[in-house]
């Protein structure tokens, strides 16, 4: 410790969310509710998920879960589209829903006195949506426009190509937002069927954080959503396994008229349930996050001046999401950037990180907690995370010890398990290559 001239931060862990400050209750219909009070500001945030994601969609069905989530607020048995949005916008509140691979997620915010308005609307859109045909056609048009913009976005196209390379024939190869051709084909019948079979209270989690007493918050959720039942609710499909890339798999997406290329490079990584997730996460921080983008930032941005952004991430969801590096570089610098990134990956899997690197990153993980947990949004995110992955309400209070227990050997073991510089999916999108 003396040798590197700084100390690990000291935290009053009792100030972090824990069993003493978080109320957790499972309602009779299966919804798990967590609430934490924060009277420092006059707002309240609700956040949650249902186990209805895109998992199980075929290529022809890609985008259905996402479209359904977006369609929920287009009309209910009680209110039209305009009435729904008048009810929240007129009080300065917001509520939105979307879908990922594993879940449909929701987030809302309002002044604390309007929590009931938000919850009552949420209850309506989840349990009684009507999916009016004219509204759904309009929504599809908006979605198709968004997908046309995505088709021209170098970052999005590189990510799509990467997912297809790294997750061939796996559900993770498909975009949750779908394709123009799939969205244009969906009917209200498809959407209604998806809602009927996949939406229900079983597995749903809802977190309320803000200027509302925790007990009152849970009662308000129970009043709004406690009666919801769906006996036809299907469990989500199983997630198939995925292997490492068989070698250096490469795909170039030609996008003429652009100034810069985006590169996405990596391989399937750990799930959040894997025991080595935290070690992999610390390894990733050293590789491409710490300070201004870690070792990759030093190599690609600072030393070579090749990119404005070059960083890595471990997704760590319920399944083997990607451990990947993203960089935006001039077309002339693409090969050099890829070489530099592969060199950094090779170093990470062949030589243990230094003591200094590990301790600095552990200090960062612990020291940043107060900032991450300052806002109501930050606390709702943290509580959803512990509930989703069964980490326990005392997780953040134990967290400093969990982080400092990770060793240099743990990091290299995790890195080797997921990353191999000679077995990577490499996708590039921009004004290089040739039109397919």
């Amino acid at each position: 410790m003396t040798e590197i001239g700084f100390s690990l931060p000291t935290l009053d862990v009792r100030s972090l969310p824990g069993p003493d400050s978080v109320l957790r209750r499972e309602l009779a219909n299966g919804i798990v509710v967590l609430a934490r009070e924060n009277f420092a500001s006059p707002s309240v945030v609700i956040s949650g998920y249902l186990v209805a994601g895109s998992l199980g969609e075929t290529r022809q069905e890609a985008g259905l879960a996402q479209l359904t989530a977006q369609a929920l607020m287009r009309g209910t048995k009680e209110r039209s589209f305009n009435q729904i949005f008048e009810s929240i916008e007129s009080i300065g509140a917001r509520l939105s829903l979307g879908a990922g691979t594993h879940t449909t997620f929701l987030q809302g915010k309002a002044l604390a006195e309007d929590l009931q308005v938000l919850l009552s609307l949420l209850s309506e859109v989840l349990s009684n949506p009507t999916f009016p045909k004219s509204q759904i056609e309009r929504l599809k048009g908006e979605q198709i426009t968004a997908l046309a913009i995505r088709d021209q976005d170098t970052g999005a196209r590189a990510q799509l190509a990467f997912d297809e390379l790294a997750y061939k024939d796996h559900p993770y190869s498909l975009p949750t937002s779908g394709y123009k051709e799939t969205i244009s084909e969906f009917s209200t019948t498809n959407i209604r069927a998806f809602h009927r079979l996949r939406f229900g209270p079983q597995g749903m989690v809802l977190v309320v954080v803000g200027a509302v007493e925790a007990e009152a918050a849970i009662t308000a959720v129970e009043e709004a959503l406690g009666e919801w039942r769906n006996p036809r609710q299907h469990a989500p499909p199983e997630l198939p396994p995925v292997g490492k890339p068989l070698g250096l798999l490469r795909k170039v997406v030609f996008l003429p008229g652009k100034s810069q290329c985006d590169i996405v490079l990596g391989a399937p990584g750990p799930s959040r349930f894997d025991e080595d997730y935290l070690a992999a996460s610390l390894g990733n921080s050293i590789l491409g996050r710490f300070g201004m983008y870690g070792r990759i930032g030093d190599a690609v941005r600072v030393s070579a001046g090749l990119a404005y952004y070059a960083y890595s991430s471990v997704s760590g969801g319920p399944g083997p999401g990607p451990w990947q590096v993203v960089a935006g570089v001039n077309p002339d610098g693409v090969e050099k950037a890829i070489d530099l990134i592969r060199t950094e990956i090779r170093k990470l899997v062949t030589k243990r990180v230094t003591k200094r690197e590990l301790i600095e990153n552990q200090a960062n993980y612990i020291g940043r907690l107060p900032l991450q947990l300052e806002s109501n949004e930050g606390v709702t995110g943290a509580l959803l995370h512990v509930e989703r992955y069964g980490l326990g309400l005392d997780y953040y209070q134990l967290y400093p010890n969990l982080v400092t227990a990770i060793t240099r050997d743990d990091v290299i073991r995790a890195a080797k398990r997921y990353l191999d510089p000679d077995h990577l999916a490499i996708a590039i999108a921009g004004p290089i290559g040739e039109e397919a």
């Binding site: 009053d12 048009g141 426009t145 090749l306 600095e360």
Partner: protein, 432 residues
Amino acid sequence: MKQGRDSILRTRLRNGLEIRLKEVHTAPLISCWVWYRVGSRNEHAGITGISHWVEHMQFKGTPSFPAGVLDRAISRDGGYWNALTWLDWTSYFETMPADRIDLALRLEADRMVQSEFAPSEVKSERTVIISERQGHENEPTFRLYEEVQAAAFRVHPYHHAVIGDMADLETMTRDTLYEHYHRFYIPNNAVLAIAGDFRTRSMLKRIRELFGTIPRGTRLEFRPRLEPAQRGERRVTVEGPGETPFLYVGYHVPPGADPDFYPLAVLDSILTGASSLNFFGGGISNKTSRLYQALVEGELAASVRGGLAATIDPYLYSINMTIRPDHTAEETLEVLDREIDRVLDQPIEMEELVKAIKQARALFAYNSESITNQAFWLGFSEMFAAYEWFESYLDRLVEVTPQDVLDVARKYLLSSNRIVGIYRPQLDKSDD
């Protein structure tokens, strides 16, 4: 030394550095911001983008904090830092655990005067900034906004984008950058704004120790050339890849400190939905706004958004529309004009006004929640007005009447006062 109504300390050091301190004890955090009165407004042809490039160089080290040390030091203390360059200002901030804030204070005092601008660092940062600009150029909307801005300001330096023109990014020298730094990075051209979990007295003492010894600089009088009144609508067209047209309409409007800014904020809320003046997002949906109803519910556009910026000199009120591929910019503009005519013809409804004010109140609460945002407002408001502007914002909004809104609409939302920008997609079009 003055103490404001929220226990805000306002004072000025002998070297001219303005200090704003606000104690907030809701979390063990402190956010420290240094604001310099320099941005793209202070640039001219040949040095466009220089303020933003100087901002990048401020992360490249001083003798006390060599390159690479700063990032690591902030990160290992669990802090978050960044910098912003805008039309009128450049700001640097660190939000840190309260017991670690001294590092932020030391480094900000240090880089106010000690940055090195090593030639090798300037060289590698040139390509990084060019890469940043090329990333922007990948976006059709950036290309369109840049052209609209250039058409809107023929004389005033708001003419060019903050990132600067490629011609200047390729040729600017290290010495030019260094001169710009020395000219504007002086205590008497800066505001130090800090909010969070500290005691004002001891914080002020530490500030005096660290910043009080920095010598006052020569603040050169800077008066940008004023933009003459526009006489007639201007139109620009940008062509590029894709299949999505975009429409961007900008109206010349007065600066943030002008009394007309408040009814314009209400008008914006009614036309395109309540928007946050904060730079950290946090808005609400706009599906009941007049333009959403006419354009998106009317199935011409996929989205519409408006924006009003609090600037020193008159800038633009902008309306951006993403058009559905089966419609044209001209069709969309026609419907937009019908809605603009409505606000020119008759006063808004009282219930629209009440809604706009309630929305502003909620957004104001959301955007003042975090300690980082509280420190942001302490300094940001000083860049174009004073902190009183922020403190009285909601009160001033409540005073707005439907007649005020009608008056500003008739004064500014005129076709002769606007620039219409159209992005025309050309499928398979390659750049030269």
